[in-house]
């Protein structure tokens, strides 16, 4: 059963997976382009870290986009077929959902491994100035976790009903409304900041995406 699902998932999302794998492999290599020279001037350190930091912004973007697109393609055929195929299978729903989730997650391993391979290649070939170190495994691990978190979030959203979406939107609307009322009443209440801290700082769900994504650092 899992093999069939995996095959189906591959058919639906292979373009996304292949493109993300290529991007994931290329990104670390491109980010250390300037470091391939043998010159070890102190000026190079600043430039190298600058380049690595600028390119590093793309890792969480790639992870989020990949998680989103694969989660959408995981559920899209079911939604289109109004879940008739799933209901016709001799499986409880929770098992079906787990199989769906697992098949998507397995495919996500390819881009994560590509990031690892690209990072290892990039740090292996670049001339890293003294004092700096490459962190290929840590970066690839972080990328893998970020992809899976993004995938899980969007998978849950896609699996939800219109009512669930309504509840989520209602909650967001409620927060906005409370904030507006607080502002009008001149109350010292900043819900957006608090929410941002809750969501984007550890142990928030999206904390994995924030911070610096450095392939090479001190």
């Amino acid at each position: 059963m899992f093999g069939v699902m995996l095959y189906g998932q591959w058919k639906w999302s292979r373009l996304i997976i292949v493109l993300a794998t290529v991007a994931g492999f290329a990104l670390p290599i491109i980010s250390v382009q300037g470091a391939a020279q043998s010159e070890l001037s102190p000026l190079r350190v600043e430039e190298l870290l600058d380049a690595v930091q600028k390119w590093g912004v793309l890792y969480p973007v790639l992870a989020a986009a990949l998680g989103l697109l694969v989660a959408i393609t995981t559920w899209a055929p079911d939604h289109r077929g109004r879940h008739v195929h799933a209901l016709s299978l001799p499986l409880p729903r929770w098992r079906y959902v787990l199989l769906r989730f697992s098949s998507g997650a397995v495919l996500l391993a390819a881009p994560a491994l590509a990031v690892l391979a690209g990072s290892l290649l990039a740090t292996g070939t670049a001339t890293i100035p003294p004092g700096l170190q490459g962190y290929p495994v840590a970066l690839a691990l972080r990328f893998a976790l970020a992809v899976v978190v993004a995938y899980a979030v969007f998978f849950a959203v896609s699996a939800g009903t219109a009512r669930t979406a309504g509840v989520i939107l209602g909650l967001i609307g409620g927060v906005i409304l409370v904030q507006i009322i607080a502002n009008v009443a001149n109350l010292n209440l900043d819900l957006f900041d608090r929410l941002q801290i809750l969501v984007l700082n550890w142990p928030g769900p999206l904390a994995i995406f924030t911070g610096r994504w450095m392939l090479i650092d001190v």
């Binding site: 102190p42 976790l145 001190v218």
Partner: protein, 378 residues
Amino acid sequence: MCRSRWLLLLVLVVGGGQLRGQELERSPSGTPSVGSGEGLARLRARADSLAHEWRRANAFADLVDSLERARVIAAKDTIRVGALTIITNPSPLPLREAAARAWPIIDNFYGSEARSLAGRPYIIVAVDPDTTVERPAPRSGIAVLWDVDVASLTFLLLTSVPIAQPDATLRNWLGGGSVRPSLGPERERASVFVQLVTAPSQATRDCFLGDTGSCRDALDIGDSPDVVLRWYRSPEQRRAVVTRSLGGYLDRGPQQQPLQSCAAGSDSSCIELLQSIPRSAVQPLAGGARETLVNLALRLGGREAYHRLIASPDAPVSTRLAAAAGMSIDSLAARWRSEILGSRPTPVSLPPRGPWIALGWVAFFTACGLRSSRWRVS
């Protein structure tokens, strides 16, 4: 205090009908006439008069300050822990506890010099945090909300130790700072490690690689007169420093032309610019790096180290540091380097529990997906 001096001076000058020297002789164009010897003598007399009034204003301002100090001291509590003396108004502020925590650190750091604190009290004005009444800022002392906790108060006491300022040479070398106990030594050393690795200077690079002489240069304790050229040894480094770090500052007035020449590749223009600006503006390591060196010297030198550091203000900083540490400056620099290298910061990646937290969120959202009721609704 400076403000009150200026105010007093202004009052004296404006209301000073008795200041005969203010009767300026004007030329037809309205400017003072200085052409004759008599005019010059008159102007000199007026300058002397102004200087006299300035001294009077200073004296008045000092009087106001001392009265204010006396007023604050008069009706206040005095807390003594060791030589630490705190004068404050009655409040729930946990000053005694904070002082008990701060004193051992201060005593350990300044050694015998810490005794001088008995005559140099902290003046702390505890302020009610709940009041909405705006009170005038105290002229002397530090205003502190009285709901501040012990840790924050200890931090405050350690960052504002009222010990006598060191001499100008040492202060300037430190980048305007003073010699204070380190509040986060590991964090400060980690910050210096980053500077040592990333500063666009050959001296810092060579120091990192193990050349003690370069460490002396990087810390600006060498005796070389052309230290700026030792910091930035190649024309590329000099151009980079001038155009990238100082470009905004130099891009005006008479320095604009040499800046353009430097950017175009003229090394002599770059050198001219580097030597024309204060050395502190182009030091490859920030003042914090030198503070870590002073802290190390004081730690190694024992209780009398601070006393030895400030004992001979005319000696070069390197000699004073060596005396404070009780070892040669080369040994001190080597020790400093090894401490900095041992404080490599942990890379900004994931916190130790980060992966588990992320997996926890994955499990949570998957469970949310499992509980979805789309099939039942459909």
